[in-house]
């Protein structure tokens, strides 16, 4: 388990994982409520102490490993759709939120999934979240359809309600575990060579009397 001591986000180092998670989804599906409920356990009160809900962090301890979660909210309006890649660049996970009472918002999620897979491949952990299950009576997206779709694209599906605080803890906990697995897998594969090139390059460019010896190749991200 030595590999777990350092991790994919090299800069954070040590035994601490740092993950970036983006929140994607149409406006009004409850992205902000979801994350506020998770980080501050608040819903619809006046939140006077919280200045903003667009960037929130959460510290977790999962099976003895510290995890710093940075949750990036994104503007959901259609006209900002093209800016997506700037937001989700370098993110470890994405939470795609739709409103179970709104068929359109689910279609948007499908678009996002296609785009993310195209741009980031399988490195990113996807969660598809049907929010507002407290409005079960007005449901327009069927559970079977949503879960079937999620499985077909390699994503996990969750049902949540920010209002009733349902399913949110599980969603984030699951996501963190999956991101940790991905990070560890990545470390192992990177240990086999990818980082050597950068180290070699470094040795050439820096005037340095103890270049590589002080720092084993890829010391930051291999099991070294």
């Amino acid at each position: 388990m030595a590999a777990a001591e350092s991790l994919g986000m090299a800069a954070a180092g040590g035994k601490t994982y740092s993950f970036k998670v983006v929140l994607l989804g149409e406006g009004c599906v409850g992205k902000t409520s979801l994350v506020l409920r998770y980080c501050e356990n608040k819903f619809n009160d006046k939140h006077i102490t919280t200045l903003q809900a667009s960037f929130l962090t959460k510290k977790l301890n999962i099976t003895g490993k510290r995890v710093n979660l940075a949750i990036w909210d994104t503007a959901g309006q259609e006209r900002f759709h093209a800016l997506g890649p700037i937001y989700y660049r370098d993110s470890n996970g994405a939470i795609l939120v739709y409103d179970v009472t709104d068929e359109d918002s689910f279609q948007k999620v499908k678009n996002w999934v296609k785009e993310l897979r195209k741009m980031l491949g399988n490195e990113i952990c996807l969660c598809i979240v049907g929010n507002k299950i407290d409005l079960e009576k007005e449901r327009h997206v069927s559970v079977e359809e949503a879960e079937g779709y999620a499985e077909s694209v390699g994503a996990k599906h969750y049902h949540t309600s920010a209002k009733l605080n349902k399913g949110i803890e599980e969603l984030f906990l699951d996501l963190c575990k999956r991101m940790m697995e991905t990070a560890q897998a990545e470390e192992r594969s990177r240990g086999n060579g990818a980082s050597h090139t950068s180290t070699a390059r470094r040795g050439v460019q820096i005037v340095d009397d103890e270049p590589q010896t002080a720092m084993p190749a890829g010391g930051c991200c291999t099991s070294g």
Partner: protein, 556 residues
């Protein structure tokens, strides 16, 4: 003659000490006073003797061997003997020359003093690191630099002796040509030459900070310096390659620190922040908006674009901000100030801090307006609006600079990184902005862009004054002030009129009083009645007095 012999003996003694300048000077001094052949011979012998003793200096050797009458005369051709220590001039010509040179020297000294101070500041920095012994050395070389030519090839040991001798003969050293003083300058690293007050301050802070780390601190300093110097040779690399160098350096440094601090990432981050501050302050000039990139062109394009979009309103962007609330408009102004201020910072992290501060003000405007925490749905449009209003200078260059040279751990995951990403989004949005993204028809958009129409004029004319006052509180304030001013003017006029009335009334009153007085005076002219001037006049009892006694005659 006896005196001369003594002198020669003395010269010999001195020459044994190898300070043959003294000898030479003494001899030429004698020569100038009593130019006679015997002394010359003695002197020639003396030189030969000197040259046997000391063959280090080629010039003096040549002089010693080839010395003859013509060479010993003053170079100005005045007929007196010249003196090697006085640049081959006689005492009189020398004095004139010296006075002139001294004026020049004083000016040069000022320049030199300034340079020295700068180098000393650099030396202060390096004196704290174990590896740097160069600056003190450079200082001694500096003082030598003004010394005479034939000492150039001497070893350090000898030159130090000469330095002390030099003090006795400062005039000769002063005349050292300007060029030479530059040659003698210490080969200090080119970077320190351009050091400004700010970089010096940053260096000092950096050294102070590293002192707390002790040995690894010295190591960090050494490597940072080495890196800066190596970057000095890479000026013609492309911006991307420069960025890669810096990023590699960050990576290497943080890896090593991570090893050293055994994984305490907070400590590593603290050190890395300082390293970034130090190296980027120094590299800023050469890597910000480098000539090899087209950053500048992009800057201008973005600036023009933002100017062309001056007509975009809060309503079009759906910005949840109500500028009529004073606190909100205050925050808007502060946000604009912060984003403009970004350009003035040198360190990527300081630039990021400006963006963060701007974002905080934006959150405040949203919170005050909507009374709930701002989500990204609110934040991004507001940021776009602020960028459009501010039109920050060199926006693209700044973004590129931060992307290229910021420590990645800050940029990727931190809060600062989030705001920076949003700024990038805002700029990207502004660049690609079209009719659809503002909910306008393409025709409308075209008209606004070409300046044929302005969105406000399109409003219902009836709503104009109202919307006018709502859109621009400053304008309504101006109207209000104007009204107050015109009121004030009216009242002032009234006051002036009143004052004039009062004045005329006063004048009239004065006249009338004068007239009245005149009338009265005319009516009752002053009459002075003649008075009885008799002595008895005042005696009221006079009447009652019996008549004066008459003399009576009695018959007798």
């Amino acid at each position: 003659m006896a005196m001369l012999t003594t002198l020669v003996c003395f010269a010999r003694v001195v020459c044994l000490c190898r300070a043959h300048y003294v000898t030479r000077l003494l001899l030429s001094w004698c020569m100038n006073c009593r130019p006679d052949v015997q002394i010359q011979i003695t002197m020639t012998n003396m030189f030969l003797y000197l040259d046997k003793r000391d063959t280090m200096s080629q010039r003096s050797e040549r002089r010693g061997i080839h010395v003859d009458q013509s060479e010993l005369l003053c170079k100005k051709g005045c007929g007196y003997y010249g003196n090697a220590a006085w640049q081959g001039l006689c005492s009189k010509c020398w004095r004139e020359e010296y006075q002139r040179a001294r004026q020049r020297q004083i000016q040069e000294d000022w320049a030199l003093a300034e340079k020295l101070q700068r180098e000393e500041e650099a030396a202060y920095v390096s004196s704290h690191s174990s590896s740097q012994t160069q600056p003190p050395q450079s200082h001694s070389q500096q003082s030598l630099a003004t010394f005479s030519k034939f000492e150039e090839k001497k070893t350090n040991e000898k030159t130090r002796k000469v330095t002390t001798v030099k003090k006795f003969f400062s005039p000769s050293s002063r005349t050292a040509p300007k060029k030479e003083s530059h040659e003698g300058k210490a080969p200090s690293p080119s970077i320190t030459r351009q050091s400004s007050i700010e970089t010096d301050r940053v260096s000092r802070d950096f050294v102070e900070f590293l002192k707390t780390l002790q040995k690894p601190g010295r190591e960090v300093h050494k490597q940072s310096r080495g890196f800066i110097e190596s970057m000095g040779n890479k000026k013609d690399l492309s911006a991307e390659e420069l960025s890669e160098c810096v990023q590699d350096f960050y990576q290497g440094m943080s890896d090593r620190l991570l090893n050293h601090f055994k994984g305490s990432s907070e400590k590593v981050d603290r050190v890395m922040d300082q390293v970034e501050k130090y190296i980027m302050t120094r590299l800023y000039k050469s890597v910000f908006c480098p000539e090899t990139s087209d950053d500048e062109k992009k800057d201008l394009a973005t600036q023009r674009r933002i100017r062309a979009l001056h007509w975009v309103t809060i309503q079009m962007l759906c910005v949840p901000v109500d500028e009529e609330i004073p606190e909100v408009s205050d925050s808007v102004v502060k946000a604009i100030t912060d984003i403009i201020e970004m350009d003035s910072k040198r360190v990527p992290r300081d630039k990021l801090a400006c963006i963060t501060s701007c974002s905080k003000h934006i959150f405040n405007t949203i919170r005050v307006t909507k009374n709930e925490p701002a989500s990204a749905d609110d934040f991004l449009p507001t940021l776009i609006y602020i960028v459009l209003k501010a039109n920050p200078p060199r926006l693209q260059s700044n973004i590129q600079y931060i992307t290229r040279f910021c420590n990645p751990s800050r940029l990727m995951t931190g809060e600062d990184g989030y705001y920076f990403t949003n700024l990038c989004c805002a700029v990207a949005f502004i660049e690609k902005l079209d009719a659809q993204s503002l909910n306008l028809s393409p025709e409308e958009f075209e008209r606004y862009m070409s300046g044929q129409a302005s969105p406000r004029r399109q409003d219902d004319p009836a709503a104009w004054p109202q919307s006018g006052s709502r859109v621009n509180p400053a304008l309504s304030q101006i109207h209000h002030n104007l009204k107050l001013l015109s009121n004030l003017e009216k009242r002032q006029q009234q006051v002036t009129e009143g004052a004039q009335n009062l004045q005329t009334e006063l004048a009239e009153w004065q006249d009338s009083v004068a007239r009245e007085v005149q009338e009265i005076l005319e009516r009752y002219p002053l009459e002075i009645k003649p008075r009885a001037s008799a002595i008895d006049a005042e005696n009221v009892e006079n009447d009652r007095l019996p008549p004066p006694l008459q003399p009576q005659v009695f018959a007798g």
